[in-house]
Symmetry: C2
DNA sequence: GGATGTATCTCGGTT
DNA sequence: AACCGAGGTACATCC
Protein backbone atom coordinates (compact mmCIF):
# COMPACT_ATOMS: atom_id res chain seq x y z
CA UNK A 1 0.00 0.00 0.00
CA UNK A 2 1.67 3.17 -1.21
CA UNK A 3 1.52 6.20 1.04
CA UNK A 4 2.39 9.65 -0.27
CA UNK A 5 2.49 12.31 2.40
CA UNK A 6 3.33 15.96 1.93
CA UNK A 7 4.11 18.09 4.99
CA UNK A 8 3.19 21.78 4.64
CA UNK A 9 2.64 21.36 0.92
CA UNK A 10 2.43 24.22 -1.56
CA UNK A 11 -1.16 24.54 -2.75
CA UNK A 12 -0.30 23.35 -6.24
CA UNK A 13 1.27 20.16 -4.89
CA UNK A 14 -1.74 19.50 -2.69
CA UNK A 15 -4.04 20.04 -5.65
CA UNK A 16 -1.99 17.57 -7.69
CA UNK A 17 -2.22 15.03 -4.90
CA UNK A 18 -5.98 15.48 -4.69
CA UNK A 19 -6.49 15.08 -8.42
CA UNK A 20 -4.21 12.06 -8.48
CA UNK A 21 -6.24 10.54 -5.68
CA UNK A 22 -9.55 11.24 -7.42
CA UNK A 23 -8.22 9.49 -10.53
CA UNK A 24 -6.58 6.46 -8.99
CA UNK A 25 -9.32 5.82 -6.46
CA UNK A 26 -7.19 6.51 -3.42
CA UNK A 27 -8.10 7.84 -0.02
CA UNK A 28 -6.94 11.33 0.91
CA UNK A 29 -6.41 12.99 4.26
CA UNK A 30 -5.90 16.72 4.68
CA UNK A 31 -4.91 18.54 7.84
CA UNK A 32 -5.20 22.28 8.12
CA UNK A 33 -7.15 25.34 9.12
CA UNK A 34 -10.37 25.46 7.21
CA UNK A 35 -13.88 26.84 7.04
CA UNK A 36 -16.78 24.56 6.10
CA UNK A 37 -20.16 25.32 4.56
CA UNK A 38 -22.82 22.71 4.04
CA UNK A 39 -26.19 22.89 2.35
CA UNK A 40 -28.61 20.04 1.74
CA UNK A 41 -31.05 18.26 4.04
CA UNK A 42 -30.11 20.99 6.49
CA UNK A 43 -27.46 23.68 6.22
CA UNK A 44 -24.54 24.69 8.38
CA UNK A 45 -21.55 26.95 8.70
CA UNK A 46 -18.38 26.09 10.57
CA UNK A 47 -16.00 29.03 11.19
CA UNK A 48 -12.25 28.59 10.71
CA UNK A 49 -10.42 26.03 12.81
CA UNK A 50 -7.94 23.20 12.46
CA UNK A 51 -9.44 19.88 11.36
CA UNK A 52 -8.72 16.55 9.75
CA UNK A 53 -10.49 16.02 6.45
CA UNK A 54 -10.87 12.56 4.91
CA UNK A 55 -11.92 11.92 1.32
CA UNK A 56 -12.74 8.32 0.46
CA UNK A 57 -12.80 6.90 -3.05
CA UNK A 58 -16.45 5.90 -2.64
CA UNK A 59 -17.44 9.56 -2.36
CA UNK A 60 -17.51 9.79 1.42
CA UNK A 61 -16.19 12.99 2.97
CA UNK A 62 -15.50 13.46 6.67
CA UNK A 63 -14.47 16.56 8.61
CA UNK A 64 -13.21 15.60 12.05
CA UNK A 65 -12.38 17.85 14.97
CA UNK A 66 -10.21 16.71 17.86
CA UNK A 67 -13.26 15.49 19.76
CA UNK A 68 -16.47 13.54 19.29
CA UNK A 69 -17.10 10.32 17.45
CA UNK A 70 -19.22 12.01 14.79
CA UNK A 71 -17.63 14.16 12.10
CA UNK A 72 -18.60 17.81 12.50
CA UNK A 73 -19.44 17.87 8.79
CA UNK A 74 -19.64 15.15 6.20
CA UNK A 75 -20.89 14.01 2.84
CA UNK A 76 -22.31 10.50 2.35
CA UNK A 77 -20.90 7.82 0.03
CA UNK A 78 -21.75 8.47 -3.60
CA UNK A 79 -20.80 12.11 -3.53
CA UNK A 80 -18.45 13.59 -6.11
CA UNK A 81 -15.37 15.36 -4.85
CA UNK A 82 -13.42 18.10 -6.58
CA UNK A 83 -10.68 20.54 -5.67
CA UNK A 84 -9.35 23.83 -6.95
CA UNK A 85 -7.22 26.79 -5.99
CA UNK A 86 -8.89 30.15 -5.67
CA UNK A 87 -7.22 33.33 -4.44
CA UNK A 88 -4.36 31.43 -2.85
CA UNK A 89 -6.59 29.05 -0.94
CA UNK A 90 -7.26 25.38 -1.50
CA UNK A 91 -10.95 24.66 -1.91
CA UNK A 92 -12.42 21.18 -1.68
CA UNK A 93 -15.98 20.63 -2.80
CA UNK A 94 -18.24 17.61 -2.64
CA UNK A 95 -21.64 17.29 -4.23
CA UNK A 96 -24.29 14.64 -4.29
CA UNK A 97 -27.69 14.51 -5.89
CA UNK A 98 -30.90 12.97 -4.62
CA UNK A 99 -31.12 14.69 -2.39
CA UNK A 100 -28.93 17.52 -3.56
CA UNK A 101 -26.27 18.26 -0.99
CA UNK A 102 -23.02 20.07 -1.19
CA UNK A 103 -20.16 20.90 1.08
CA UNK A 104 -17.39 23.41 0.55
CA UNK A 105 -14.16 23.40 2.52
CA UNK A 106 -11.85 26.39 2.24
CA UNK A 107 -8.35 25.83 3.58
CA UNK A 108 -6.58 28.88 4.88
CA UNK A 109 -3.49 26.87 5.68
CA UNK A 110 -2.57 23.28 4.92
CA UNK A 111 -0.25 21.35 7.23
CA UNK A 112 -0.41 17.94 5.63
CA UNK A 113 -1.82 16.21 2.59
CA UNK A 114 -1.66 12.42 2.30
CA UNK A 115 -2.67 9.98 -0.40
CA UNK A 116 -3.35 6.38 0.65
CA UNK A 117 -4.37 3.30 -1.21
CA UNK A 118 -5.88 0.96 1.33
CA UNK A 119 -6.12 -2.71 0.49
CA UNK A 120 -8.86 -4.21 2.61
CA UNK A 121 -11.07 -7.10 1.54
CA UNK A 122 -12.08 -8.40 4.97
CA UNK A 123 -15.60 -8.49 6.32
CA UNK A 124 -16.54 -7.50 9.84
CA UNK A 125 -17.96 -10.36 11.91
CA UNK A 126 -20.36 -8.98 14.50
CA UNK A 127 -22.06 -10.93 17.27
CA UNK A 128 -24.76 -9.82 19.64
CA UNK A 129 -27.28 -8.32 17.23
CA UNK A 130 -31.04 -8.64 17.27
CA UNK A 131 -30.64 -11.31 14.60
CA UNK A 132 -28.70 -13.42 17.12
CA UNK A 133 -31.52 -13.01 19.59
CA UNK A 134 -33.97 -14.19 16.95
CA UNK A 135 -31.84 -17.22 16.12
CA UNK A 136 -31.67 -18.09 19.77
CA UNK A 137 -35.47 -18.10 20.06
CA UNK A 138 -36.07 -19.93 16.80
CA UNK A 139 -33.55 -22.61 17.78
CA UNK A 140 -35.31 -23.17 21.08
CA UNK A 141 -38.72 -21.44 21.37
CA UNK A 142 -39.03 -22.67 24.96
CA UNK A 143 -36.56 -20.02 26.10
CA UNK A 144 -39.41 -17.64 25.36
CA UNK A 145 -42.18 -19.62 26.98
CA UNK A 146 -42.93 -23.30 27.35
CA UNK A 147 -44.96 -24.51 24.40
CA UNK A 148 -44.44 -21.47 22.21
CA UNK A 149 -44.34 -22.18 18.48
CA UNK A 150 -42.71 -19.72 16.09
CA UNK A 151 -44.57 -19.72 12.80
CA UNK A 152 -43.40 -16.76 10.70
CA UNK A 153 -40.64 -14.20 10.93
CA UNK A 154 -41.09 -10.73 9.50
CA UNK A 155 -44.81 -11.30 9.11
CA UNK A 156 -46.34 -8.27 7.40
CA UNK A 157 -49.20 -6.29 8.89
CA UNK A 158 -50.77 -2.98 7.90
CA UNK A 159 -48.52 -1.34 10.49
CA UNK A 160 -45.25 -3.08 9.61
CA UNK A 161 -43.51 -6.42 9.99
CA UNK A 162 -43.67 -8.52 13.16
CA UNK A 163 -40.31 -9.95 14.21
CA UNK A 164 -41.76 -13.34 15.18
CA UNK A 165 -45.36 -14.41 14.78
CA UNK A 166 -46.47 -17.64 16.43
CA UNK A 167 -48.76 -19.40 18.85
CA UNK A 168 -48.49 -20.04 22.55
CA UNK A 169 -49.21 -23.39 24.22
CA UNK A 170 -52.96 -22.63 24.08
CA UNK A 171 -52.84 -21.87 20.40
CA UNK A 172 -53.32 -18.13 20.95
CA UNK A 173 -51.83 -16.02 18.16
CA UNK A 174 -48.83 -14.10 19.46
CA UNK A 175 -46.73 -11.21 18.13
CA UNK A 176 -43.16 -11.00 19.41
CA UNK A 177 -41.04 -7.88 19.12
CA UNK A 178 -37.32 -8.30 19.73
CA UNK A 179 -34.84 -5.75 21.03
CA UNK A 180 -31.19 -6.39 21.72
CA UNK A 181 -31.03 -3.83 24.52
CA UNK A 182 -33.08 -2.18 27.22
CA UNK A 183 -36.08 -0.49 25.65
CA UNK A 184 -38.23 2.55 26.24
CA UNK A 185 -41.74 3.60 25.27
CA UNK A 186 -41.06 3.55 21.53
CA UNK A 187 -40.64 -0.22 21.42
CA UNK A 188 -43.92 -0.68 23.29
CA UNK A 189 -45.64 1.57 20.78
CA UNK A 190 -44.13 -0.45 17.97
CA UNK A 191 -45.41 -3.75 19.37
CA UNK A 192 -48.78 -2.19 20.08
CA UNK A 193 -49.11 -1.02 16.48
CA UNK A 194 -48.50 -4.55 15.24
CA UNK A 195 -50.94 -6.15 17.68
CA UNK A 196 -53.66 -3.64 16.89
CA UNK A 197 -53.11 -4.16 13.18
CA UNK A 198 -53.49 -7.91 13.66
CA UNK A 199 -56.67 -7.42 15.68
CA UNK A 200 -58.12 -5.18 13.00
CA UNK A 201 -57.33 -7.13 9.89
CA UNK A 202 -59.43 -10.14 10.57
CA UNK A 203 -61.38 -8.46 13.38
CA UNK A 204 -60.47 -10.45 16.43
CA UNK A 205 -59.42 -10.34 20.04
CA UNK A 206 -57.03 -11.99 22.41
CA UNK A 207 -53.88 -11.65 20.38
CA UNK A 208 -50.87 -11.65 22.67
CA UNK A 209 -48.10 -9.15 22.25
CA UNK A 210 -44.77 -9.98 23.82
CA UNK A 211 -41.81 -7.62 24.03
CA UNK A 212 -38.52 -9.47 24.35
CA UNK A 213 -35.56 -7.45 25.57
CA UNK A 214 -32.96 -7.46 28.35
CA UNK A 215 -35.08 -5.00 30.34
CA UNK A 216 -37.51 -2.09 30.00
CA UNK A 217 -37.75 1.40 31.49
CA UNK A 218 -40.39 2.36 34.04
CA UNK A 219 -42.44 4.28 31.54
CA UNK A 220 -42.28 1.43 29.06
CA UNK A 221 -43.49 -0.91 31.78
CA UNK A 222 -46.47 1.34 32.49
CA UNK A 223 -47.33 1.42 28.82
CA UNK A 224 -47.07 -2.34 28.57
CA UNK A 225 -49.58 -2.59 31.41
CA UNK A 226 -52.08 -0.11 29.97
CA UNK A 227 -51.87 -1.70 26.54
CA UNK A 228 -52.15 -5.18 28.01
CA UNK A 229 -48.86 -6.33 26.53
CA UNK A 230 -46.24 -8.60 28.06
CA UNK A 231 -42.53 -8.55 28.62
CA UNK A 232 -39.99 -11.35 28.71
CA UNK A 233 -36.39 -10.74 29.65
CA UNK A 234 -33.87 -12.23 27.23
CA UNK A 235 -30.47 -11.16 26.00
CA UNK A 236 -28.30 -12.11 23.10
CA UNK A 237 -26.15 -15.04 24.12
CA UNK A 238 -22.87 -13.34 24.87
CA UNK A 239 -23.98 -9.97 26.11
CA UNK A 240 -25.39 -11.17 29.39
CA UNK A 241 -26.51 -13.99 31.58
CA UNK A 242 -30.08 -13.17 32.53
CA UNK A 243 -32.81 -15.26 31.05
CA UNK A 244 -36.41 -16.18 31.70
CA UNK A 245 -39.54 -14.36 32.71
CA UNK A 246 -38.96 -11.84 35.44
CA UNK A 247 -39.66 -8.33 36.62
CA UNK A 248 -39.34 -5.84 33.75
CA UNK A 249 -36.59 -4.02 35.58
CA UNK A 250 -34.47 -6.96 36.60
CA UNK A 251 -30.95 -6.11 35.75
CA UNK A 252 -28.72 -7.27 38.52
CA UNK B 1 -0.43 23.63 15.00
CA UNK B 2 2.51 21.26 15.06
CA UNK B 3 2.34 18.16 12.89
CA UNK B 4 4.75 15.30 13.39
CA UNK B 5 4.48 12.61 10.78
CA UNK B 6 6.56 9.45 10.52
CA UNK B 7 6.50 7.45 7.29
CA UNK B 8 7.07 3.70 7.72
CA UNK B 9 8.15 4.21 11.33
CA UNK B 10 10.01 1.63 13.42
CA UNK B 11 7.64 0.28 16.05
CA UNK B 12 9.55 1.98 18.86
CA UNK B 13 9.22 5.37 17.18
CA UNK B 14 5.53 4.84 16.65
CA UNK B 15 5.12 3.84 20.28
CA UNK B 16 6.96 6.98 21.35
CA UNK B 17 4.70 9.09 19.17
CA UNK B 18 1.62 7.44 20.64
CA UNK B 19 2.74 7.96 24.21
CA UNK B 20 3.71 11.54 23.47
CA UNK B 21 0.26 12.10 22.01
CA UNK B 22 -1.49 10.54 24.99
CA UNK B 23 0.45 12.85 27.29
CA UNK B 24 0.16 16.12 25.44
CA UNK B 25 -3.45 15.66 24.44
CA UNK B 26 -2.83 15.45 20.73
CA UNK B 27 -4.69 13.62 18.02
CA UNK B 28 -3.02 10.62 16.40
CA UNK B 29 -3.56 8.96 13.05
CA UNK B 30 -2.14 5.57 12.16
CA UNK B 31 -2.16 3.92 8.76
CA UNK B 32 -1.32 0.27 8.35
CA UNK B 33 -2.43 -3.31 8.12
CA UNK B 34 -4.21 -4.32 11.25
CA UNK B 35 -6.61 -6.71 12.88
CA UNK B 36 -9.35 -5.44 15.20
CA UNK B 37 -11.22 -7.11 18.02
CA UNK B 38 -14.03 -5.48 19.92
CA UNK B 39 -16.01 -6.59 22.92
CA UNK B 40 -18.67 -4.67 24.78
CA UNK B 41 -22.33 -3.97 23.99
CA UNK B 42 -21.75 -6.47 21.20
CA UNK B 43 -18.56 -8.10 20.00
CA UNK B 44 -16.79 -8.23 16.66
CA UNK B 45 -13.73 -9.43 14.83
CA UNK B 46 -12.21 -7.73 11.82
CA UNK B 47 -9.57 -9.80 9.97
CA UNK B 48 -6.38 -8.15 8.73
CA UNK B 49 -6.61 -5.31 6.24
CA UNK B 50 -5.28 -1.81 5.67
CA UNK B 51 -7.09 0.92 7.57
CA UNK B 52 -6.83 4.43 8.92
CA UNK B 53 -6.99 4.62 12.71
CA UNK B 54 -7.72 7.89 14.51
CA UNK B 55 -7.19 8.45 18.22
CA UNK B 56 -8.62 11.64 19.65
CA UNK B 57 -7.53 13.24 22.91
CA UNK B 58 -11.09 13.00 24.26
CA UNK B 59 -10.87 9.21 24.16
CA UNK B 60 -12.56 8.66 20.82
CA UNK B 61 -11.12 5.94 18.60
CA UNK B 62 -12.07 5.43 14.95
CA UNK B 63 -11.09 2.66 12.54
CA UNK B 64 -11.90 3.71 8.99
CA UNK B 65 -11.81 1.62 5.85
CA UNK B 66 -11.66 3.17 2.39
CA UNK B 67 -15.44 3.19 2.13
CA UNK B 68 -18.55 4.02 4.15
CA UNK B 69 -19.28 6.99 6.31
CA UNK B 70 -19.26 4.98 9.50
CA UNK B 71 -16.07 3.65 11.04
CA UNK B 72 -15.90 -0.14 10.85
CA UNK B 73 -14.93 -0.15 14.53
CA UNK B 74 -14.75 2.55 17.12
CA UNK B 75 -14.64 3.51 20.76
CA UNK B 76 -16.75 6.37 22.13
CA UNK B 77 -15.39 9.54 23.74
CA UNK B 78 -14.26 8.96 27.31
CA UNK B 79 -12.33 5.80 26.55
CA UNK B 80 -8.74 5.36 27.66
CA UNK B 81 -6.17 4.57 25.01
CA UNK B 82 -2.91 2.74 25.47
CA UNK B 83 -0.25 1.25 23.22
CA UNK B 84 2.47 -1.34 23.51
CA UNK B 85 4.76 -3.53 21.48
CA UNK B 86 4.30 -7.26 21.67
CA UNK B 87 6.15 -9.82 19.60
CA UNK B 88 7.21 -7.25 17.04
CA UNK B 89 3.76 -5.87 16.54
CA UNK B 90 2.27 -2.56 17.61
CA UNK B 91 -0.85 -3.02 19.69
CA UNK B 92 -3.29 -0.24 20.42
CA UNK B 93 -5.93 -0.77 23.06
CA UNK B 94 -8.84 1.35 24.17
CA UNK B 95 -11.07 0.69 27.14
CA UNK B 96 -14.10 2.35 28.58
CA UNK B 97 -16.29 1.54 31.54
CA UNK B 98 -20.03 1.88 31.98
CA UNK B 99 -20.65 -0.02 29.94
CA UNK B 100 -17.39 -1.90 29.81
CA UNK B 101 -16.10 -1.96 26.25
CA UNK B 102 -12.70 -2.61 24.83
CA UNK B 103 -11.07 -2.68 21.48
CA UNK B 104 -7.71 -4.10 20.50
CA UNK B 105 -5.93 -3.22 17.29
CA UNK B 106 -2.93 -5.28 16.26
CA UNK B 107 -0.79 -3.73 13.55
CA UNK B 108 1.08 -6.16 11.35
CA UNK B 109 2.66 -3.32 9.42
CA UNK B 110 2.63 0.41 9.95
CA UNK B 111 2.92 2.80 7.00
CA UNK B 112 2.40 6.09 8.76
CA UNK B 113 2.04 7.52 12.23
CA UNK B 114 1.09 11.18 12.71
CA UNK B 115 0.70 13.37 15.75
CA UNK B 116 -1.48 16.46 15.40
CA UNK B 117 -2.47 19.20 17.77
CA UNK B 118 -5.61 20.73 16.37
CA UNK B 119 -6.63 24.18 17.50
CA UNK B 120 -10.34 24.57 16.97
CA UNK B 121 -12.61 26.70 19.15
CA UNK B 122 -15.40 27.32 16.66
CA UNK B 123 -18.96 26.18 17.05
CA UNK B 124 -21.01 24.65 14.27
CA UNK B 125 -24.05 26.73 13.29
CA UNK B 126 -26.74 24.42 11.97
CA UNK B 127 -30.07 25.43 10.45
CA UNK B 128 -33.00 23.27 9.47
CA UNK B 129 -33.53 21.22 12.60
CA UNK B 130 -36.80 20.32 14.28
CA UNK B 131 -36.12 23.14 16.70
CA UNK B 132 -36.29 25.59 13.79
CA UNK B 133 -39.65 24.13 12.81
CA UNK B 134 -40.89 24.64 16.35
CA UNK B 135 -39.70 28.25 16.41
CA UNK B 136 -41.48 28.86 13.16
CA UNK B 137 -44.78 27.63 14.58
CA UNK B 138 -44.40 29.39 17.91
CA UNK B 139 -43.58 32.65 16.15
CA UNK B 140 -46.72 32.40 14.03
CA UNK B 141 -49.14 29.64 15.13
CA UNK B 142 -51.41 30.45 12.19
CA UNK B 143 -49.01 28.66 9.84
CA UNK B 144 -50.30 25.54 11.58
CA UNK B 145 -53.98 26.41 11.53
CA UNK B 146 -55.93 29.62 11.85
CA UNK B 147 -56.70 30.34 15.50
CA UNK B 148 -54.31 27.77 16.95
CA UNK B 149 -52.79 28.75 20.27
CA UNK B 150 -49.58 27.11 21.48
CA UNK B 151 -49.66 26.76 25.25
CA UNK B 152 -46.80 24.51 26.34
CA UNK B 153 -43.79 22.94 24.70
CA UNK B 154 -42.43 19.63 25.92
CA UNK B 155 -45.56 19.00 27.97
CA UNK B 156 -45.12 15.77 29.90
CA UNK B 157 -47.56 12.89 29.68
CA UNK B 158 -47.43 9.34 31.00
CA UNK B 159 -46.17 8.32 27.56
CA UNK B 160 -43.58 11.04 27.05
CA UNK B 161 -43.32 14.74 26.19
CA UNK B 162 -45.52 16.45 23.60
CA UNK B 163 -43.63 18.79 21.27
CA UNK B 164 -46.34 21.46 21.33
CA UNK B 165 -49.53 21.35 23.38
CA UNK B 166 -52.21 23.92 22.66
CA UNK B 167 -55.78 24.67 21.70
CA UNK B 168 -57.41 25.09 18.33
CA UNK B 169 -59.83 27.90 17.45
CA UNK B 170 -62.67 25.99 19.17
CA UNK B 171 -60.65 25.56 22.35
CA UNK B 172 -60.12 21.85 21.74
CA UNK B 173 -56.94 20.53 23.39
CA UNK B 174 -54.41 19.60 20.73
CA UNK B 175 -51.15 17.65 20.73
CA UNK B 176 -48.68 18.52 17.98
CA UNK B 177 -45.78 16.26 17.02
CA UNK B 178 -43.06 17.81 14.86
CA UNK B 179 -40.76 16.10 12.39
CA UNK B 180 -38.21 17.82 10.20
CA UNK B 181 -38.55 15.29 7.41
CA UNK B 182 -40.93 12.86 5.78
CA UNK B 183 -42.20 10.41 8.37
CA UNK B 184 -43.25 6.79 8.58
CA UNK B 185 -45.40 4.75 10.95
CA UNK B 186 -43.18 5.31 13.98
CA UNK B 187 -44.01 9.02 14.20
CA UNK B 188 -47.74 8.25 14.00
CA UNK B 189 -47.34 5.74 16.81
CA UNK B 190 -45.49 8.33 18.83
CA UNK B 191 -48.23 10.94 18.42
CA UNK B 192 -50.87 8.33 19.15
CA UNK B 193 -49.16 7.39 22.42
CA UNK B 194 -49.23 11.00 23.57
CA UNK B 195 -52.87 11.55 22.59
CA UNK B 196 -54.00 8.36 24.30
CA UNK B 197 -52.06 9.30 27.41
CA UNK B 198 -53.79 12.69 27.47
CA UNK B 199 -57.18 11.07 27.02
CA UNK B 200 -56.49 8.67 29.88
CA UNK B 201 -55.07 11.01 32.47
CA UNK B 202 -58.10 13.10 33.09
CA UNK B 203 -60.43 10.66 31.27
CA UNK B 204 -61.67 12.63 28.30
CA UNK B 205 -62.38 12.60 24.60
CA UNK B 206 -61.93 14.77 21.56
CA UNK B 207 -58.29 15.58 21.95
CA UNK B 208 -56.79 16.40 18.58
CA UNK B 209 -53.47 14.96 17.51
CA UNK B 210 -51.66 16.72 14.69
CA UNK B 211 -48.53 15.43 12.99
CA UNK B 212 -46.50 18.21 11.40
CA UNK B 213 -43.94 17.17 8.82
CA UNK B 214 -43.02 17.81 5.19
CA UNK B 215 -44.90 14.66 4.17
CA UNK B 216 -45.82 11.15 5.31
CA UNK B 217 -45.55 7.69 3.78
CA UNK B 218 -48.59 5.71 2.61
CA UNK B 219 -48.52 3.42 5.58
CA UNK B 220 -48.24 6.35 7.97
CA UNK B 221 -51.22 7.96 6.27
CA UNK B 222 -53.30 4.80 6.79
CA UNK B 223 -52.35 4.73 10.43
CA UNK B 224 -53.24 8.39 10.84
CA UNK B 225 -56.69 7.60 9.45
CA UNK B 226 -57.34 4.55 11.64
CA UNK B 227 -56.14 6.40 14.74
CA UNK B 228 -58.16 9.50 13.83
CA UNK B 229 -55.11 11.73 13.79
CA UNK B 230 -54.34 14.61 11.47
CA UNK B 231 -51.48 15.73 9.30
CA UNK B 232 -50.30 19.19 8.33
CA UNK B 233 -47.52 19.71 5.83
CA UNK B 234 -44.81 22.09 6.98
CA UNK B 235 -41.08 22.26 6.46
CA UNK B 236 -38.25 24.06 8.16
CA UNK B 237 -37.88 27.42 6.53
CA UNK B 238 -34.97 26.80 4.26
CA UNK B 239 -35.34 23.17 3.39
CA UNK B 240 -38.40 23.56 1.19
CA UNK B 241 -41.23 25.69 -0.03
CA UNK B 242 -44.37 23.71 0.69
CA UNK B 243 -46.65 24.91 3.41
CA UNK B 244 -50.24 24.55 4.50
CA UNK B 245 -52.71 21.74 4.84
CA UNK B 246 -52.63 19.38 1.91
CA UNK B 247 -52.56 15.76 0.86
CA UNK B 248 -50.19 13.77 3.07
CA UNK B 249 -48.17 12.75 0.06
CA UNK B 250 -47.81 16.10 -1.61
CA UNK B 251 -44.17 16.45 -2.48
CA UNK B 252 -43.85 17.96 -5.93
C1' DG C 1 -26.08 8.18 35.77
C1' DG C 2 -30.64 6.88 33.55
C1' DA C 3 -34.40 8.25 30.44
C1' DT C 4 -36.18 10.20 26.43
C1' DG C 5 -36.16 11.77 21.68
C1' DT C 6 -33.62 13.91 17.57
C1' DA C 7 -30.38 13.12 13.76
C1' DT C 8 -27.72 16.33 7.40
C1' DC C 9 -28.67 9.97 11.62
C1' DT C 10 -26.25 5.59 8.59
C1' DC C 11 -27.05 1.22 6.74
C1' DG C 12 -29.09 -2.95 4.78
C1' DG C 13 -32.92 -5.27 2.97
C1' DT C 14 -37.05 -5.32 0.24
C1' DT C 15 -40.47 -3.71 -2.84
C1' DA D 1 -35.74 5.14 -5.68
C1' DA D 2 -38.75 4.88 -1.64
C1' DC D 3 -39.89 2.49 2.50
C1' DC D 4 -38.98 0.31 6.76
C1' DG D 5 -36.55 -0.80 10.90
C1' DA D 6 -31.98 -1.91 13.34
C1' DG D 7 -27.92 0.21 15.30
C1' DG D 8 -22.04 -1.48 19.56
C1' DT D 9 -26.44 3.91 16.77
C1' DA D 10 -24.28 9.05 18.76
C1' DC D 11 -25.76 13.07 21.01
C1' DA D 12 -28.14 16.67 23.75
C1' DT D 13 -31.17 17.58 27.44
C1' DC D 14 -33.54 16.97 31.43
C1' DC D 15 -34.21 14.62 35.66
Amino acid sequence: MPVLSLPDPPLEDALDLLNTGFECGGMITLVGECEVDYDGRASSHLPPGERLVILKPDGTLLVHRDEQRKPVNWQPPGSTHSARIDRDRLIVESVRSSPHEEIEIVFETLMQATLLELDDASDLALAGSEEDLRQRILADPDVLEAGFKAMVTERETAAGAIDIYGQDADGTPTAVELKRRRVGPDAVGQLNRYVEALERDPPSRSIRGILVAPSVTDRAEELLATEDLEFISLTTEESGLSQGRSSPNSEE
